[in-house]
Subunit: 222 residues, 2 copies
């Protein structure tokens, strides 16, 4: 469903959602959730909607029960002759839940037709919002998950190319320290919930540090 | 315009194109070019279309004349009270021409309203096509331009996370050697012109090495 703005849905995503009998999404309630809210205006009363909460914790096995349930629901629907979609925020394969569901469908649904529909990533949306290139010419772009690799932040910055941190709230104090130590605080911007009505942009990361930031906070360093 | 499939246009891109008086694109002819072909079915006969070829060569200053001309055409149109769009393939800010045009608009058009519309990147489209995650949990993703850094390929692979090479044709022989030296040929796939009717997928990079590959050939290594 892309980063949160319904206008950033692709035609293919819209058509798949409109053609589905069952819409599964990672919300705690059937009619609430970040992904569901992006598409809610497309949903007709004849379509069934099911929120299936997924664990979002650290560790190797987190969420697996949730992913099994999602894949099972999609397969059951298809075996009954219906169409089903599973919604994911951003791009489904970039730190998204999509890749875990696909992994299970490859096993459970090898005889069924299924497709992953790529979406606009938060990364591309932040770059567009700021007018900042993600990468040009010979630049190597590094994309990191902010809840890991805290001790490697300095080394990652020293690689030299642009760097993006997804889910950056946890890592922010250390990132500020490492940028400041290199005199590079002006090279970074934090965007929270890009494209959403609640979007916030912090051109000084230190202003963001005291805030209660969303899980969907992305830092881009150039 | 995304990676090439008209269905991967976003609603916002479609609306911007439909509302424009002038459509500028990086084709050599007004009615031909990779970006133009993605949207050609949307274009009405009352809209003006202008192909403005951009240099695609190595070096710091390549293409600058072309980018100046594109930005100048957009600004002229806006100052005449009209709307104009510039099309770019893939995501405009990821190795795209969009970032160069934006750089010029920030100077030339500071008093005008302009917007960058993010798109589905070839990176996300390839991952979706293959059902391969780009990055999960603690993985760090590295994105490289294939026409540079030939001597660093081994070191980039040894970083350990997933790696993507854009424009990989030039670098392919060396990439195959470095993957083979690590016993990792099975970890890589090459996708040429993802989502386009002429798309080709090579699950063995050695099969691609003898081919006349498009500029739009992406390798994903996991």
């Amino acid at each position: 469903v892309g980063p949160g703005d319904p206008e950033l849905l692709t035609l293919r995503a819209i058509r798949a959602i409109e053609a589905s009998d069952l819409i599964v999404h990672p919300g705690r309630d059937d009619r609430a959730g970040i992904a569901y809210e992006v598409v809610s205006e497309l949903v007709r009363s004849t379509q069934r909607v099911r929120g299936m909460a997924l664990a979002m914790m650290r560790g190797r096995d987190d969420g697996s029960v949730g992913y099994d349930r999602v894949a099972g629901a999609l397969v059951e629907e298809a075996r009954n002759g219906h169409r089903a979609v599973f919604l994911t925020e951003g791009d489904p394969m970039l730190y998204g839940t999509g890749s875990y569901v696909v992994e299970r469908l490859k096993v459970l649904a090898a005889d069924l037709a299924f497709e992953v529909i790529p979406g606009v990533s938060a990364l591309g949306a932040v770059a567009a919002r700021l007018g900042w290139p993600l990468a040009r010419k010979d630049e190597i772009l590094t994309v990191c998950p902010g809840t890991y690799h805290v001790d490697e932040i300095g080394a990652i910055l020293d690689r030299g190319g642009p760097v993006c941190w997804f889910k950056s709230a946890d890592v922010l104090p250390r990132l500020i320290d490492e940028l400041a130590a290199r005199g590079r605080l002006d090279d970074a911007v934090l965007v929270e919930r890009v494209g959403h009505p609640a979007e916030r942009v912090f051109f000084d990361l230190r202003d963001a540090a005291g805030q209660n930031l969303s899980y969907f906070s992305l830092v881009l360093v150039r």
